[in-house]
């Protein structure tokens, strides 16, 4: 298992390199630079700034310098936030995104799996249709539509929850962002669980268990749930990716000081190092999570073994 994990990590390096190279090229290809403004700087001042940030070096040299920093886990200084390194900014923003992401993931798993199981057990009844109808809606409506509608309804009209983040305290400010972020995942997980559960419930070992006189709740809990979870598990990788990218929108709309809004600001301000740093971080995170999911797979399903 350890050998397998190590090989997978080594295998991820070319992927990461490719991602970094592409991201590097793309941020530098975008017109304009990090220090452009309607107030154009006098040539001497601009030259001082460019040399301070080594932007006057040729691009390949900048890329190599970036890579050599990366090897030492140095993501460089931010251009937008003067005096902050990218690593510091990520460290400040990450806890907010993590909190948001983990809560959304937990909510999505709990509600999605329960709803899916519930629907599977009542296959083709009205309740099943209702649950699946809701989940189809959840999948179809994009986050950038859900978020402002929820904010308008619960924060501005009903005033049950705070409209923004800064200055508000307590768990209340997390409710709307978490719900927004979790909704599409709940919907998708419900459909996935339902399909998988229906398939498992039709298999021989379940029929045997039923024939031995076990009640349905126990059959589901002890025998069906685990095999039915395998597709859900493989979906976790993409789900984490979806929650990460979704958080870009949610953080913008609800004003949460997490990685997502940092990324957007970075891109708009041409903060090359900040954008690259977050891309590298996201990429590494997704690679790592996929690895974790693969390992979990082997733990849950004894038929899967790695050589």
């Amino acid at each position: 298992m350890l050998r397998y994990a190590l090989l997978r990590i080594l295998g991820a390096i070319p992927t990461l390199l490719l991602v970094i190279a592409l991201a590097f090229l793309m941020v530098h290809a975008a017109p304009g630079g990090p220090f452009d403004d309607e107030r154009v700087l006098p040539a001497d001042v601009a030259a001082n700034i460019e040399s301070a940030y080594r932007l006057d070096d040729p691009l390949p040299q900048q890329f190599l310098a970036y890579l050599s920093g990366l090897v030492r886990f140095d993501l460089g200084p931010s251009y937008r936030y003067v005096g902050y390194t990218v690593a510091e900014l990520i460290a400040i923003a990450l806890p907010y995104s993590l909190q948001l992401g983990i809560m959304a993931m937990v909510v999505a798993l709990l509600l999605g799996v329960s709803a899916g199981t519930f629907a599977a057990l009542r296959q083709d009844t009205v309740l099943d249709r209702v649950v699946m109808g809701f989940s189809m809606t959840g999948i179809s409506i994009p986050i950038f539509v859900i978020a402002p509608v929820l904010a308008l309804l619960f924060a501005v009209k009903l005033q049950w929850l705070p409209a923004g983040w800064s200055g508000a305290e307590g768990a209340g400010r997390l409710v709307l962002p978490v719900v927004t972020l979790a909704l599409p995942q709940i919907a998708y997980l419900a459909r996935l669980t339902r399909a998988s559960m229906i398939e498992v419930l039709g298999s021989d070992f379940i029929r045997t268990a039923r024939a031995q006189g076990l009640g349905m709740p126990r059959v589901v809990r002890v025998h069906a749930l685990k095999p039915a979870m395998l597709p859900v598990l493989s979906y976790l990788g993409p789900a984490v990716a979806a929650i990460l990218t979704g958080s870009v929108v949610v953080e913008e709309i609800f004003g949460i000081p997490g990685l997502g809004q940092l990324f957007v600001r970075g891109a708009l301000n041409r903060d090359y190092t900040l954008v690259l740093g977050i891309v590298v971080f996201y990429a590494a995170l997704i690679v790592a999570l996929n690895l974790v999911v693969d390992i979990l797979y082997a733990v849950i399903d004894p038929r899967v073994r790695y050589r």
Binding site: P31, N48, A155, W160, G164
Partner: protein, 527 residues
């Protein structure tokens, strides 16, 4: 699991509204400052926060009059080249150490030092040797700044600069607490390490969310500072900011959304504060390429065909003022010139515009085809649509609208290769006509239309050499007249500042610079 429990809205209401009890002022800020290091800032947002944290030799009142701040008084030599400032006795940093003249001198030297890479290095360009130091050809010790004793600061200028006092209010001229710079390096300006000399100190800063300031007990005017703390909420989205104001989370908004302006004027007539600003919104012509190169009649025709009254009343509709000059009204000791056609009525303007259009070689059969570039924003699009319609109606011009991301537009304007007509704006750095007129000098890097007129440059040079303020003013006004008659750009409207100010806030003053020091304000006691 307790995590998931707390995310389900239930009878346990999680309503949590910012507490406004503690005499803390809640203000909106439209984006994060890039830094609070006074010598490295460039954004107006950073300057807004820094005006609460730091203090220059000179400051402004709530209504925008210059007043002594860290300096108690000063003398100016007859030739206008030597300024001698006398600092107050009781000046202290937020850690209790005295603020000295040497701290101010150190701040100014740091600003022009090339390795600081300061955006506002040019603010002090009129101080002796500053340009040569910025370009790296002279050591920073040669800067014309001296601190003969703890309380006296002498500035020697290389040219008369009547607006110098205004420049010294800017954060780039704030002093620096050298020990903390030495100890913490370039990242000293952070919570925990930032030693400030203004009415407030930095308590905390969560990038993208909230900047908290608390009273600086050591500030010389602490006794007259009413508010104990200021929270700047970073709210990029205007609509979100308005929601926060409506919810009672904010005392002062940074602005108001365009689309809500008319409604807010009825809803909050007392709370909505609108005031002209030192800023102008304009359409520039690319003068380096056809069709606008060497075609003055065409430029004039296009400028005349824009009905600015209609534009400001019906399109922008937020109290903006129509612009017929480049320097906005309200600039100290200056009367803006105006484009020649300002006296004509709409009908006559349009008739004349058509005549000029024909003179320029265009007609209904041979219409001008032109591209208008603007950066992506609802407001800019509306203005562009209106201008497009006016040009079409009056002259038959066929224009194409091209919207670009801001950085893309900036790059295109700077290259002056593919641009024809472009949207831009200019906001004054200080209250003097020079901050506007200097933009269009032929060697100015911000001269987006690439206007180059020897006559204009010569008039500005003469004004710069003039010690007598009245004669300087005449040269400046003449320069603007010359420039406007060349029509290198179309001034469209004068910016206005727009804030919602809660009735609980007292001491608010409107001013053209849109500076609102928290130390001038006070809050009603909570009921």
């Amino acid at each position: 699991m307790s995590l998931s429990k707390s995310t389900v809205p239930g009878p346990l209401c999680f309503v949590q509204v910012t507490t406004t009890l503690d005499n803390i002022l809640q203000r909106g800020l439209s984006s994060d400052p890039e830094t609070l290091d006074p010598h490295k800032t460039r954004s107006t947002q950073a300057a807004d926060v820094l005006r609460d944290l730091g203090e220059g030799l000179v400051g402004y009142t709530a209504t925008g009059e210059l007043v002594p701040a860290s300096a108690e008084r000063w003398e100016i030599s007859a030739d206008g080249l030597v300024y001698t400032f006398h600092l107050r006795d009781e000046l202290r940093w937020s850690n209790g150490e005295p603020v000295t003249a040497a701290d101010f001198a150190a701040g100014m030297r740091r600003l022009v030092e090339p390795s600081t890479a300061a955006f506002y290095a040019e603010m002090l360009a009129s101080i002796e040797n500053a340009p040569a130091i910025i370009s790296g050809s002279l050591p920073v010790a040669k800067l014309g700044v001296d601190a003969p004793d703890e309380k006296t600061l002498v500035l020697r200028l290389s040219q008369n600069t009547p607006y110098l006092l205004g420049l010294l209010t800017h954060p780039s001229a704030f002093p620096i607490h050298t020990p903390s710079l030495e100890e913490h390096g370039e990242s000293f300006a952070r919570p925990g390490t930032f030693v400030t000399n203004g009415a407030y100190r930095l308590e905390s800063w969560v990038p993208g969310s909230l900047i908290s300031l608390r009273r600086n007990e050591h500030y010389w005017n602490n006794a007259d500072t009413a508010i104990d703390g200021v929270n700047y909420h970073v709210l990029v989205n205007n609509a979100a900011e308005l929601n926060r104001y409506r919810a009672g989370d904010l005392h002062i908004t940074n602005t108001v959304p365009t689309e809500s302006f008319a409604r807010l004027r009825e809803e909050y007539p007392e709370e909505l504060r609108v005031a002209p600003q030192l800023g102008i919104y304009y359409y520039g012509f690319n003068l380096t390429k056809p069709p606008f190169m060497d075609n003055a009649p065409l430029r004039e025709a296009l400028s005349m065909a824009v009905d600015r009254e209609e534009l400001t009343e019906r399109v922008t509709g937020r109290g903006e003022q129509p612009a017929y000059s480049w320097v906005p009204p309200g600039v100290n000791s200056y009367t803006p010139a105006a484009v020649g056609f300002v006296a004509l009525d709409k009908e006559e303007r349009e008739r004349l515009a058509r005549a000029r259009y024909k003179e320029a070689g265009y007609s209904e059969e041979n219409p001008l085809q032109v591209e208008i570039r603007y950066n992506t924003s609802d407001m800019h699009r509306k203005v562009a649509l209106a201008v497009q319609a006016m040009w079409r109606e009056v002259l038959g011009v066929e224009s194409t609208l091209i919207n670009e991301e801001f950085q893309v537009l900036l790059a295109n304007m700077r290259d002056a290769e593919i641009t024809q007509v472009f949207r831009s704006s200019w906001t004054g750095d200080y209250n003097d006509a020079q901050t506007f007129l200097g933009v269009l000098q032929s060697d100015s890097p911000t001269n987006m239309p690439r206007y180059a007129s020897e006559e204009y440059d010569a008039l500005l040079a003469r004004a710069a050499a003039q010690v007598d303020p009245e004669r300087r003013r005449l040269y400046l006004e003449e320069a603007e007249r010359v420039m406007l008659s060349d029509n290198p750009l179309i001034p469209l409207y004068i910016f206005v500042s727009k804030h919602l100010v809660s009735p609980d806030v007292h001491g608010w003053g409107d001013n053209v610079l849109d500076y609102h020091y928290s130390q001038h304000l006070s809050l009603s006691a909570p009921e």
